[in-house]
């Protein structure tokens, strides 16, 4: 494995008495696409928040390349609904201290197919289009690592296909991608490696084919069988 772009070292997070994440460690290589899967409440969103620096771990650390920005696309759209698509992108480009905000915004509008809707207020966009802006803002600063929390959840099949093409292009350009999803088939299709979390514990880290070997049917059946084997 080449020099990792991101390292998680014994990450733990507690909310009061509840342990949301327990001793999770892994490395992320440059250009790698990593999917984090697991049942509801497994700790997927917590893990991404810790990697993004949006939350502080109770124990452990996240080691990121110094001076490099990590892109984060939260599960719920984090945008100003009273501002237009263009105004949202411009604002975050400036806050991210992007060298040429206008050029970055133009690229993002083009890549997300939102040029025609640039002047529309966010509040008037569909859920799918809002999510596209949400993703665009997370990737505005050309980060070395992009963390996407259920990025395809509110997208239609056409938008989803477009998203994965966009993400694959980013990965080929060297951006490391970590995404969470409930769609096991999607994880198998687009990720080079899977992390399986359940009740805050990291149960599996490896290529999708290794997880599939735990069952005789499709990937989803294999995943459920694996969880059952692990007592979840």
């Amino acid at each position: 494995m080449t020099q990792p772009t991101l390292q998680a070292r014994s990450l733990s997070k507690r909310f009061g008495d509840r342990v949301a994440l327990r001793d999770v460690s892994f490395d992320l290589a440059a250009g790698e696409i990593l999917a984090v899967i697991g049942p509801n409440g497994a700790g997927k969103t917590t893990l991404l928040s810790l990697l993004a620096g949006a939350a502080t771990p109770t124990d452990g650390e996240v080691i990121a390349p110094p001076g490099e920005r990590i892109g984060w696309v939260p599960q719920q759209t984090a945008l100003y609904s009273k501002l237009s698509v263009l105004e949202n992108l411009r604002l975050f480009a400036r806050l991210e201290r992007v060298a040429d905000p206008e050029a970055s915004v133009a690229v993002m509008l083009e890549q997300t197919g939102l040029r025609e809707r640039a002047d529309d207020q966010l509040g008037r966009l569909s859920g799918g289009n809002r999510q596209r802006v949400n993703i665009a803002i997370g990737l505005l600063a050309q980060p070395v690592v992009a963390l996407l929390d259920e990025p395809s959840a509110s997208l239609d099949p056409r938008q989803r296909e477009r998203l994965w093409r966009f993400i694959a292009a980013r990965a080929q350009a060297g951006t490391s991608i970590v995404f969470t999803t409930h769609d096991i088939a999607e994880a198998e299709r687009y990720a080079a490696r899977l992390l399986v979390l359940a009740d805050g514990e990291l149960l599996f880290s490896g290529p999708p084919a290794d997880l599939r070997s735990h069952g005789s049917g499709d990937m989803e059946s294999a995943f459920v069988s694996f969880l059952r084997e692990c007592g979840h």
Binding site: G53, A54, W72, P74, A78, Y80, L91, F92, R94, L95
Partner: protein, 446 residues
């Protein structure tokens, strides 16, 4: 600083696109402020009271010695405190009170002049209430205060009558009694006559030892009666008020109402805007994004407080200028107005961001801001002596911990030159800014 500038521009753009909210932020505090100002500067309306005067017109003037007292004069005084509805009988007065067309009935019995003149027993008036505690309290206060004034005026009249009798006893003169005029010698003249008679009697005269005690008594009576007039005056008005204001200039109620109205507006705009704009960042899920190093917590809180303060100072200043067109304010103190408004606005805005950091959405922030602000206004306006001493001390502490009282003192000092000084109030506000700033930082970590 660049991040603060972009965030500030963003919030202003959002405000511009929320005309209903912006209008509400300006109109609501202005309306509340005007209402408070009117309530403080205008007296209450007069309670409607059924009024029955049973004294026959021919007996409305009573004679005490040589003094004639017109009882209708006291009736007029009473009408300053109530809106009288004249009725012709007790039955009508009772009916009016029962059906609620009047809050109470005031009946002056026919024997009032007689009782006043005889001084054998206290004269009385009868008041009938409808049993509503609030209404009873309102009418009771109005009538009792005016009766107290009438009693005081009557006491003065009675003092004059008593004084004239004492003068007659001391100095002598003519007294009319039952149409017959008498010449009264007077104690001074009696003492002088007795002294003259004693001086003409031979040393061994048997009359001398019998007259000497009488002459001594006459002298003592003259001395004591001369001072008794002053005693009667003191009894008639045991305590009189000599006013002296020591802490700076006394603020007339109308001008104080201006300060209150402006401070209330300042408070509402700051609290609602500061707490609302910060809570909006949570509601839109952007706070987590911003906290990832895009904007530092201090810069974010500072930006919200600055935006709220600028808007509130603008609203407060506009109110003062508007009021200044109708009320003679001192325009030479405009610089101090701005200083006081800025101090007050910063303190309110810092409290606002502390509240905004606690909640997850704008509606909760607005509700919390209103829940906190209303009691603070009322507590800060409780005058000393209106409640028990211990409770007032607790209110003072609470008022000192929140910015309303200090902001009101600053605005009042700047506008009306009242005490404590503007600088003391600004110092107090600076401490509150520091305290609430720390709380806001803690609240934002949630």
């Amino acid at each position: 600083m660049a991040a603060v500038r972009w965030m500030l521009l963003k919030d202003l753009r959002i405000l511009r696109r929320s005309p209903a909210l912006t209008l509400l932020l300006i109109l609501y505090p202005a309306a509340v402020a005007v209402l408070i100002g009117l309530a403080l500067s205008r007296g209450p309306g007069l309670p409607r009271v059924a009024f029955l005067n049973e004294i026959p017109p021919s007996e409305s003037v009573i004679t005490l010695g040589t003094t004639r007292i017109d009882t209708t004069r006291y009736e007029r005084q009473l009408f300053q405190a109530i809106a009288p509805v004249r009725v012709s009988s007790r039955a009508q007065a009772l009916a009016d009170v029962r059906d609620g067309s009047t809050l109470a009935a005031l009946i002056i019995p026919p024997n009032l002049p007689h009782l006043l003149a005889s001084a054998a027993q206290s004269a009385y008036v009868q008041v009938i209430y409808n049993g509503d505690a609030v209404n009873q309290s309102l009418v009771e206060t109005a009538i009792e205060s005016k009766l107290a004034q009438a009693n005081a005026l009557l006491a003065v009249q009675l003092e004059k009558v008593a004084g004239s009798y004492i003068d007659l006893l001391l100095s002598g003169g003519r007294l009319n009694f039952l149409g017959i005029a008498f010449n009264v010698l007077g104690l001074r003249e009696s003492a002088r006559v007795l002294s003259a008679v004693l001086s003409t009697l031979p040393r061994g005269s048997p009359l001398r030892p019998r007259l000497a005690p009488v002459a001594a008594f006459a002298k003592i009576a003259v001395d004591n009666l001369a001072s008794s007039k002053a005693v009667i005056g003191a009894v008639g008005a045991p305590i009189v008020v000599h006013q002296k204001v020591i802490n700076g200039r006394r603020t007339p109620l109308d001008f104080y109402a201006v300060s209150i109205a402006v401070t209330v507006s300042l408070m509402f705009v700051c609290l609602l805007l500061a707490s609302g704009t910060l809570a909006m960042e949570r509601e839109e899920n952007t706070l987590e994004r911003l906290r990832r190093g895009l904007v530092s917590p201090t810069a974010l809180l500072g930006e919200k407080a600055l935006l709220a303060s600028v808007c509130a100072v603008f609203v407060g200043f506009a109110m003062l200028v508007g009021i200044g067109l109708f009320v003679p304010l001192q325009w030479g103190r405009v610089g101090l107005w701005v200083l006081a408004l800025v101090g007050g606005a910063l303190a309110f805005a810092t409290l606002g961001v502390a509240l905004g950091g606690l909640v997850r959405d704008v509606r909760a922030a607005s509700l919390l801001a209103l829940l906190v602000s209303f009691p603070l206004v009322f507590l800060a306006l409780v005058p000393p002596g209106a409640v028990a001493a211990g409770l007032y001390d607790a209110i003072r502490v609470l008022s000192a911990v929140f910015p309303f009282k200090a902001a009101l003192e600053a605005v009042d000092a700047a506008v009306n030159r009242s005490s404590p000084s503007l600088w003391t109030a600004l110092g107090h506000l600076a401490l509150l800014v520091a305290g609430f700033g720390v709380l806001a930082r803690v609240a934002l970590r949630r």
